[in-house]
């Protein structure tokens, strides 16, 4: 990297002792680029083996990369921690203003250690770190918290405000961290790790300059990438209807999970499509910092007050493909207003929308089957398509007033292990499934993916592009998934948004890195991708993860997918392939 690039600065904050210091570690970035590559090294350094994910020893690491603030769509921050949800690798990505704010404050990474004894929030403005008493914010929803900190802090227009809601405080294992009201470190429970440290929020701002090796070439390359971004049809699609555009396509294809995946098409998909949301509710579009696309879609929901005529409340609620799936079709809800209200409730609590929806879908089926009664649910009668009980239940998950809701707050895998109906408890590696039943690719992808996320290796895309066209062996599938996931280690080390993966193709990346002082050939970049993958896998196995012990919910074999039905042996063969490859690499 370039000698004076502030990217090399790592800010260490000790929440127990309320101290901070900065270390320069250029060698770490030279070797692993930034983002995920650097974060996994810091996690290995800072996280003691076998530590309690909600104990003070579990560190939180944020990392950005060399392209952050320099190129469009380099808009993401990588968070790493030990996940309270899966017990192994916690990794979650978030946009908003977070990445640019961290880089412009002068850091490549931030490491949080220890825990506070009283509620606090942190503000990091350039090279100063402040610890604030957050007792008056504790118990507040995530939006209200954001508003109060916004009014109290400097750095307007240049800052990120990361915060948790009540779910994080109450250690729901899939609690999220929200930034800028609408973006999230959604998956794997970073919110609970914040909560366990009594850390309510972090505000970060700065406005530095960053050196580049050749300013003329920089401007030229920038213009090329910018043009590609604004002209690309994929990007136009994300700006027009947003990710919700995929609903009709996925449904037509027959891969749109519905009613806890008892079906894979939703008869009322048209009513909850991106088109329907745009026509009826779209109120505003937003972008992450330095993103010309602007895929964030905000619905304006107007609700009358019942006690007085002409009295309305207007809420601005962000929607995307995944929450429409998990809090919509998965629960059989076809009323967009009902979905928006449920999303709003989950957002205020600060929980991962995907996990929450899958948990509630499982609970509905368990109640249908008589495994749980209204005694457990505290009088709630779940019913496909009716939003009100789900809204109430989402609050109860946050509060955990009894054993049942405490179990739901630990995720569907745990709830299924206690109450039964486990074969329809849709989690892979303990992380609740995403909105794709496109074929075996998506499920194998989530099982072997290091975060058990559909974005690890985009198995849903391989289903649609490859498996739907030709017979593919499980071994071939595994190889494709691994190749994609290794390359994504590079994208998430730079760090660029995965939506821009078509723009940041390998040849472009290898041209950009020298501008930032990284002399890496394409084969070096690929080697680093493989190494980062291996380092993450090493963390997982260190924490007890094993490909042999992956539970596969049988429901995915029962409901036909667009590529037909598939069986467990196909999936196991793919997993075996990955295992062999990883064993061989470990031995090398």
């Amino acid at each position: 990297m370039l000698k004076d690039d502030p990217l090399a600065n790592i800010l260490y904050i000790d929440l127990s002792n309320r101290t901070f210091m900065t270390k320069k570690r250029p060698e770490l970035f030279d070797r692993y680029i930034g983002g995920a590559g650097v974060a996994i090294q810091l996690l290995h350094e800072e996280c003691p083996t076998g530590c309690d994910p909600i104990g003070p020893e579990n560190p939180i690491i944020f990392a950005v990369g060399p392209l952050t603030s320099l190129f469009p769509l380099a808009s993401k921050t990588v968070a790493m921690f030990k996940s309270p949800h899966t017990g192994n690798l916690g990794e979650s990505h978030c946009g908003g203003r977070s990445a640019v704010a961290i880089r412009m404050a002068g850091y490549g990474a931030i490491v949080l250690k220890g825990a506070s004894d009283i509620p606090i929030y942190l503000s990091i403005h350039g090279n100063k770190v402040y610890f604030h008493d957050a007792s008056s914010l504790w118990g507040m929803g995530s939006s209200a918290t954001g508003r109060i900190i916004r009014e109290n802090e400097t750095g307007g227009g240049l800052r990120t405000i990361m915060r948790i809601g009540k779910a994080g405080e109450n250690l729901v294992s899939y609690a999220s961290v929200t930034t800028e009201t609408y973006r999230h470190f959604g998956r794997l429970g970073l919110g609970a790790v914040f909560g366990s440290k009594k850390l309510k929020a972090i505000a970060i701002s700065g406005k530095l300059s960053v050196p580049v090796a050749d300013t003329k070439l920089y401007r030229k390359m920038y213009e090329e990438i910018y043009q590609k971004a604004v002209e690309s049809p994929v990007m136009k699609k994300y700006h027009d209807l947003g990710t919700a555009e995929n609903i009709i396509a996925l449904n037509k294809f027959g891969g749109f999970p519905t009613r806890n995946l008892k079906e894979a098409t939703f008869e009322k998909a048209d009513a909850i499509s991106g088109e329907a949301f745009a026509a009826g509710y779209l109120g505003r579009r937003l972008a992450c910092s330095h993103c010309p696309v602007g895929c964030i879609h905000i619905a304006a929901l107007r609700e009358p007050y019942e006690d007085e005529p002409y009295y309305y409340k207007t809420s601005m609620i962000s929607y995307d493909y995944e929450p429409i799936y998990s809090l919509g079709s998965m629960l059989g809800i076809s009323d967009p207003e009902g979905i928006l209200k449920l999303m709003d409730s989950v957002e205020t609590a600060g929980m991962d929308a995907m996990s929450t929806g899958v948990v509630l879908a499982w609970a509905t089926e368990a109640q249908e089957q008589g495994l749980i009664s209204e005694k457990e649910t505290m009088g709630i009668k779940f019913s496909w398509g009716d939003p009100a009980p789900y809204i109430n239940a989402s609050r109860l998950i946050t509060e955990q007033p009894n054993e049942f809701y405490t179990a739901l707050a630990k995720g569907v895998d745990y709830a299924g292990s206690i109450y039964g109906n486990r074969d329809s408890a849709l989690a892979f590696g303990k992380n609740e499934m995403a909105g794709y039943h496109t074929g075996p690719g998506t499920h194998v992808g989530s099982l072997i993916g290091l975060r058990h996320s559909h974005l690890d290796n985009a198995g849903y895309s391989i289903d649609q592009k490859v498996l739907a066209q030709k017979q593919t062996s499980p071994e071939e599938l595994a190889d494709m998934l691994l190749e994609e996931e290794r390359w994504r280690q590079i994208l998430s080390s730079l760090v660029v948004c995965f939506f821009a993966r078509g723009i940041y193709a390998p040849d472009i990346v290898s041209k950009l890195l020298p501008l930032l002082g990284f002399e890496l050939k394409l084969e070096d970049i690929n080697r680093i991708g493989t190494e980062i993958y291996r380092e993450k896998y090493r963390f997982k196995t260190r924490e007890g993860f094993s490909l042999d012990e992956l539970r596969i919910p049988k429901r995915i074999f029962e409901t036909s997918s667009p590529v037909g039905k598939f069986d467990e042996s196909y999936i196991r063969r793919a997993i075996d392939r990955v295992k062999k490859i990883m064993e061989k690499q470990g031995a090398d």
């Binding site: 603030s69 320099l70 469009p72 640019v100 412009m104 939006s143 954001g146 508003r147 916004r150 307007g156 227009g157 240049l158 800028e180 009201t181 609408y182 406005k207 530095l208 300059s209 960053v210 050196p211 580049v212 300013t215 920089y218 401007r219 920038y222 910018y226 604004v230 505003r284 579009r285 937003l286 972008a287 992450c288 910092s289 330095h290 993103c291 010309p292 696309v293 602007g294 964030i296 905000i298 601005m316």
Partner: protein, 139 residues
């Protein structure tokens, strides 16, 4: 010509204009940006784009103790870095907050109405306009 904010309601808050203004000065980052984008009390309410609107008889120039701000013929000002002592009076005089600050030089950053950022606003918020567009009493 002056830089005009044509339609703030279309702004998605991407900050591409801010980064563009830095690049026109051969810089990367935000230190040198002469334009700012802020949410209107949270992103749910949208954004305001803050940039010099090229006043006639610019108030910022009037308060400068060293005559470092020279009014341009199309309105607005040019900063003479050598004369500027970084006192910040101009910042107080600009009601719309369009004088940003470079903390590394301790000098103001003021839009020169070059139009470079217009090419990088993806959502047609910014444009270059003839001076007439500014509504205020003629001298």
């Amino acid at each position: 010509m002056r830089l005009a904010v044509l339609e703030t309601e279309r702004c998605v808050g991407c900050q591409c204009c801010m980064f563009a203004c830095s690049r026109r000065q051969d810089e990367a980052g935000l230190t040198k940006a002469c334009i700012a984008v802020k949410s209107v009390g949270g992103m749910r309410r949208g954004f305001t784009v803050i940039v010099c609107r090229a006043c006639d008889n610019p108030p910022c120039a009037k308060v400068c103790p060293t005559n470092a701000l020279e009014p341009g013929k199309d309105g607005g000002v040019r900063l003479d870095m050598k004369k500027c002592i970084g006192c910040g009076h101009c910042q107080d005089a600009c009601l719309i907050g369009a004088i940003l600050w470079d903390d590394t030089t301790n000098k103001p950053m003021i839009c020169i109405h070059c139009g470079y950022c217009v090419n990088f606003c993806p959502h047609k918020v910014l444009g270059l306009k003839k001076k007439e567009g500014v509504a205020h009493a003629k001298r």
